[in-house]
Amino acid sequence: MSNRPLNREPYQQAYYPPTPTGFTRYMRTSLIWQAYRFLVINVKMLKLMAKSKH
């Protein structure tokens, strides 16, 4: 019996959506990058709130 891994089954639910690369996953928890994103997200939310005031 061969030890060759089986081919991945195509046409399944999990086959189609994009999955993050290792770099993307690293950046999601990189403290420096995320500190910067924290500021960016805050600014985006403040802009949204300013636009929502009537």
Binding site: T19, P20, K51, S52
Partner: protein
């Protein structure tokens, strides 16, 4: 001196009370009626539901906070509204029934000059047989005590998996007409996170089930965001998150019945299915709390004030139209009742003119579509607008002066996908406007510069910071009014 009565002390009711107290608390009387003594920061219940927070960290004693102000708090349940008074009382009034043990069952009439209905939802577990923690087989994170019980059961499952057993966990919506998919979305990722931390993720089959047509609908018809040189539907990112965490999903599903260990559901194609589970958290559908209304002669006018689902009619356009003819202008702006001008409804308590997601029915005629979300930031915005309008009407304005249409406001949502200061994450999302406006934004109904989403640790920091900020603000501590609502 006028009296403003607020029914309900959730996010909408308490926000209105805080702002009215700040603006006119010295000149006028503010009465808050709520059956619950404790205020609950509901967005953090998901952390209670996985054992990352205690109930005490997401609740506080409302009576104690109001006791430090001039706000008059009555721990009672509203029963009926009498907007014209009656033969015995000339002024409009509400009938309430006290819920404090010492006075339980005692009814009282409270007259008002202005009434704000912010009663929130009735958690309608009864709509699906076998749903819910009290009479069913599923748990809930809709209240802090529900979340405590959910965590207790989750830990039992985790203990079994640590002994080598395999378990199926199903999380999502418990009916075809549910809203609040976001809470279930956060819960499934937090469960995934704690299973990984416990080293048992490989022994769990994690399944998402919801009434959304596609993942990422959230009752808002989904969103389109700019990413990687494309404008992409949120479905892509929602599916990506599921695949990344090894979560299966079932959409377009109406849960018909839950038995011990088995969910029966129907899908939009009209077929019926069963799904075995060991642990399940399913959000119930919402309904109005069942307030009645009577005219001066004592005739029942509930149908005049409320929609059939129990939510109060306000200044929306309730004319029934097909989806293609829905307009942003259908949505209410002032939340004033069209008949009784001193009556307002905010938060979940107001009746939306229609859904935001396109209505769908299964081949058997079962409606399967998310209903419109109106919690969190939109609730607070409505509360502030109504508080300002009432202040101005007390000062002589003949109509509401402030507006907060969901078709003209945005919403920010930070959905936790794992709580840990270094390894946690959350999906930070903004959407503008909440209700698509295809006249202003013909292609997607929304401003793609203000509608965005991303996943990362920064989102977790944001969610954690907001937890403390909003509880500080709700406790009405020094400088609360300087903080954003």
């Amino acid at each position: 001196m006028a009296r403003i009565v607020i029914l309900g002390a959730g996010i909408a009711g308490h926000t209105a009370a805080r702002h009215l107290h700040k603006m006119i608390g010295r000149q006028h009387e503010i009465v808050v009626v709520s059956p619950n003594r404790k205020w609950n920061w509901i967005p953090s219940n998901i952390w209670v539901g996985v054992g990352q927070m205690k109930e005490e960290q997401v609740t506080f004693d409302l009576a104690e906070i109001y006791g430090k102000t001039s706000i008059d708090f009555r721990q009672a349940k509203a029963l009926s509204i009498h907007p014209q008074g009656d033969a015995g009382m000339a002024k409009p009034y509400v009938t309430v029934e006290h819920t404090v043990a010492a006075e339980a069952g005692r009814q009282e009439k409270i007259s008002y000059d202005f009434l704000i209905n912010a009663t929130g939802p009735k958690l309608n577990f009864g709509a699906t047989e076998g749903l819910g923690p009290e009479h069913g087989h599923t748990v809930s994170v809709c209240t802090a005590s529900h979340a405590v019980e959910a965590n207790h059961k989750l830990q039992t499952i985790i203990d079994a998996m640590k002994k080598g057993e395999r378990r199926t966990i199903v999380i999502g919506t418990g009916h075809g007409m549910c809203t609040c998919q976001g809470a279930a979305f956060e819960y499934i990722y937090n469960v995934d996170h704690v299973l990984r931390e416990a080293g048992v993720r490989d022994r769990a089959r994690l399944v998402w089930i919801s009434n959304e047509y596609e993942l990422g609908d959230f009752g808002m018809g989904g969103v389109h965001i700019k990413r990687g040189g494309y404008i992409t539907n949120g479905k892509t990112f929602a599916e990506s998150l599921m695949v990344e965490r090894g979560i299966e999903w079932i959409t377009r599903a109406h849960v018909k019945k839950v038995e011990a260990g088995k969910i029966h559901y129907e899908t939009l194609d009209g077929t019926f299915h069963e799904l075995a589970f060991d642990f399940s958290m399913l959000i119930p559908p919402f309904a109005g709390v069942g307030l009645k209304a009577y005219d001066k002669a004592g005739e029942d006018i509930t149908a005049q004030l409320f929609a059939p689902n129990g939510f109060m009619k306000v200044d929306a356009d309730y004319t029934a139209r097909p989806y293609a003819e829905w307009s942003a202008k259908d949505w209410p702006r002032t939340y004033q009742n069209p008949t009784f001008k001193n009556l307002f409804a905010i938060g979940i308590a107001f009746a939306p003119p229609h859904m935001i997601s396109k209505p769908m029915q299964s081949a058997n005629g079962t409606p399967i579509n998310p209903t419109a979300p109106r919690t969190g930031m939109p609730s607070a915005s409505m509360a502030i607008a109504v508080a300002h309008s009432i202040r101005d009407m007390l000062n002589g304005a003949d109509q509401p002066t402030h507006h907060a249409s969901m078709a003209e406001m945005g919403a920010a949502c930070v959905a936790s996908t794992g709580a840990n200061f270094f390894s946690g994450s959350a999906a930070s999302m903004t959407v503008y406007p909440v209700v698509p406006d295809f006249e202003k934004y013909p292609e997607y109904g929304r401003d793609t510069n203000l509608t965005f989403g991303e996943v990362g640790l920064a989102g977790h920091w944001m969610k954690y910071a907001l937890h403390h900020l909003f509880i500080y603000q709700a406790r009405m501590k020094a400088g609360w009014s300087l903080l954003p609502d």
